[in-house]
Every structure is written in structure tokens, then in C-alpha cells.
Amino acid sequence: MKELITSLFSTLTIQEVSLIISVINIIIVTASLILFVVFMVYFERKIMGYMHARIGPNRVGPKGIFQSLADTIKLLFKEIIIPAKADRFMFLLAPILLLIPAIAAWAVVPLNPEFLIADINAGLLYLLALTSFGVYGVILAGWASNSKYAFLGSMRAAAQMVAYEIAMGFALVGVLMAGGSLKLGAIVAAQSGGIQNWFFIPLFPLFIVYFISGVAETNRHPFDVAEGEAEIVAGFHVEYSGAAFAIFFLAEYINMALISILTAIFFLGGWESVFSNFSILENSVFSFLIQPSIFWLLSKTLFFLFVFVWLRATFPRYRYDQLMTLGWKVLIPITIVWIGVECIMFVMEVGPWSSV
């Protein structure tokens, strides 16, 4: 791609060429994220329906595949109502403040060894910073709405995010120790060489904790007390309608995808193949299955997205105090204990990282 652009516009400097490439990459990632959300809404409703012994959306288009398109058009054409006593500027700023970090976090997520928008050294820290930035959008939405339900929802969201951010950070400390780098690409490279080297085996508790706190971070079931339809109507976005509400929706689903792809990268070897040790396949037609490719990364991501929906269909919502108990008294101690165990593993030289 670099050669193509240099040959087409020979007057450009190297910096300008890399800028153009970055912009193209950003457009590719953002467009595919929005397409993903359209797909995900349909996927979620269909899976949820099947788990309820229903058939889910089936009216718009064959098997209902255009359902989310119809939903999008409906949401975009609805009126954005701004409550009379709401803080107008903040009210409109909040959804944007939620969406921007959700998309910006994808800058450091590598989709394969080459495709990466920004190859920064502190990728993991950048991710932690941006995922926790999303809570400002939630708090601001609740505060600017000037409604007690919205405010209650955002207060709950803030407390929940603080609790689970710590567990999430600690889980990532474990990954950092094992991977030996803050770069996501390097973490995946540390897991290469077969399924036994993937971090989910030595770091199994951290893997579970990371995914649970990821679910809590995105305010998804069963941790959606910030929305809590039954008790506070729709939580922080109760006053939003039309396109503004659609942005909240978009941010939630993009965050879901982010957590899923990060779990795949940190614990399931990213783009590494499940069958990389099966040398029998090497000369057969299935030889592409051994190669590390984006196919593996996306199928692992899709699996975790399925788990998101699965969780939502299975469990009732946590009560607020149970949620806090789980965060502070269960997940954080487990991660701390397992980091200690990991240290011992380092000293004793057990684990996939010691054999290298």
C-alpha cells in the first residue's frame, strides 16, 4: 500500500504518505465497526430469541436480516428531545464523549501482525486509559439530563466502573508479566507455538476475571444496574431519544466488541491458529487452518460476543450490593492472589514463558 501511494503521488513526503495510510486504516476500522454493530444487533436478538424458544426478528427481509437496518433508520429519523431543564451543551456532549473513546481504543488493537493503526509502545496503558474514559460519558449523561433516574443510573455506573476497573487492571498486570511487553502484537507473539502456550491456561483465573470485569465495564447483563430497566427505567440514557440514543447504543456494542477482541488477544493467542500443532494438515487442503490469520482472531472474538449474549439470556441482573461484593471482595482478591502465584511460577520456571 505504501508503494502504491508513493508511486501514484511521487511528490509526497514519507510523513504525508504514512498519514494517508493511517487515515485509510482509520476509515476501514470505523466503517467495519459500524457495520459490525448492525450485524451484532441482529445476531443478539436472534440468539436471544432462540434461547427463549422464539425465532427472533423475521419480518424485515428474508429471515429478518434487515431488522437492524430498519431500526437504524427509525432511530435516525426520530426527534432528539432535549429536556427543558437539562444542560443543553453537556447533554449533547455526553454521547459523543462515550463514543469517541470506544472507537479510539481500536487504534492500538492489531487485527493481524501487519494491520495496526498506531504502533505505540504503551498500547496496554492506552487501552486502560481509554476504556476508563468512557465512564465520563455515562456520568455526564446522567448529570446533564437533570432527572433523578438518570442521575441514579450514572452514580451506579461510576461506582461499578471504579470497582471493576481495578480488577481489570490487575488481570492485565498478569498478562503484562507473562507477555513481557505493553505492545499487543508482542503479547500475541509471546503466545505463539500452539494452544499450550496461550495465556488462558496458566492465567485461567485472570482470564475469567478479565472477562467478567469486561462485561461489567460495558454495562452489559448481568451487570447492567446502570440501566436497570426494572427499577430506574433506562438509567443514564432515559432522557435520550433518536440519534443521541443511537450513539449510546453504538458505543455499547463497540465496547463489547473491544472487550471480546482484547480477551482473544490477551488470553487466546489472538490470530494464532488452534491447529498450529497439527502437522498432519500441512499438505492437505486444510493447510490454511494452521496459518495464523485474521480468521482465527475474528472467530475467537465472535465466540466471546456469543458469550456476552449468552450471559444476557441466562442470568438475572445482580443486586447492587451483590455487584459491589463481587467486585471488591471476590474478583480483586483473586487477581492479587494469582499475580502472587504467577510470581512463584516465574521463580520456579513453570509456565509457557519459561521454556523459551
Binding site: 434461547m51 424458544a53 422464539r54 425465532i55 449468552w310 441466562t314 471476590v330
Partner: protein, 161 residues
């Protein structure tokens, strides 16, 4: 918080059981009925929109005894009556407020001449507020239109009443 409880919680056995239930449900046969195309069977006792019936000679059955209006728990029925030239008592006004009616079927049970009946029409609508009042003419029309259906349903149910 004994050790058994802690081990049970940490093994997440209950969560796995729950996941198992929903995963099985994912592959279970679906029970959705595609409503406007496919409909569920209705019982002959189904209580839907009200109607007034006529005798076979075209005379209306209702004798304005007002038992239905008396028994109606929602007080949805309004009746006014007069004596006709031939000496029979008939209604001049027979109105049912469709918003008040709770489809309990007490009026049908109370009626001594089987005039007021409930059809199995459950999907009907009105576009203006005043249309909720169903006049005598409208009720008689419903009875005429669905006479066959109503009589077969009554025949099916006759040995149980």
C-alpha cells in the same frame, strides 16, 4: 462461609448449570406462531366482541328485560325501552361501551332469550373515540354477519352447559 461454599462458588458450577440450560434451549424446537399467517385454534367458548341476535323471522330477540345491564360488572350496557304498537316491549336504545366491557360473558348467561351473545372476534379496532359506543344497529349487524359461526360454536358447547 465455610470452605465447601467457597469451593462451590469458585468452581462456578451453578453458572455452568445455568449456561447449560440456555444452550440446550438454543437448539430446542421453536414455539413461535407466525400470527397473521398462522392462527391458534379458538375455543367455542371464546369470549370476544358482543353481538345481538335475531329470530329466524328477522325479529330481534331482545325484550328489554335489562338483566344484562343489571349483571354487567363494568356497567357497560345502557338500555332504554318502549312498548310497541303490537304490545311487545322492545329496546329503543341498546348501547355497549367497548372500552368498559371486560368480556366476562355474564350478560350472555343472564339473557333469558339468548339475544346478547359473545362472538369469537377478538381483533377489531376503532379510529375515533366515539366509535367505542356500539349501537343497537351495529350489534345486530355483527350478529347477522356471524350468525353461522355463533350457532355452530353454541352447538359445539351445548353438551357442557
Amino acid at each position: 462461609m465455610n470452605i465447601k461454599h467457597i469451593l462451590k462458588t469458585l468452581s462456578m458450577i451453578d453458572l455452568i448449570k445455568g449456561f447449560n440450560v440456555t444452550l440446550k434451549a438454543l437448539f430446542r424446537e421453536k414455539v413461535t406462531i407466525q400470527y397473521p399467517e398462522v392462527k391458534t385454534p379458538l375455543s367455542p367458548r371464546f369470549r370476544g366482541k358482543l353481538a345481538l341476535m335475531r329470530y329466524d323471522n328477522g325479529e330481534e330477540r331482545c325484550i328489554a328485560c335489562k338483566l344484562c345491564s343489571a349483571v354487567c360488572p363494568a356497567q357497560a350496557i345502557t338500555i332504554e325501552s318502549e312498548e310497541r304498537e303490537d304490545g311487545t316491549r322492545r329496546t329503543t336504545k341498546f348501547e355497549i361501551d367497548a372500552f368498559k366491557c371486560i368480556y366476562c360473558g355474564f350478560c350472555e348467561e343472564a339473557c333469558p332469550v339468548d339475544s346478547i351473545v359473545e362472538t369469537n372476534i377478538f381483533a377489531y379496532h376503532m379510529t375515533e373515540n366515539h366509535q367505542r359506543i356500539q349501537t343497537k344497529e351495529m350489534l345486530l349487524e355483527t350478529g347477522d354477519d356471524y350468525k353461522e359461526e355463533i350457532t355452530t360454536n353454541r352447538a359445539k358447547d351445548s353438551k357442557f352447559t
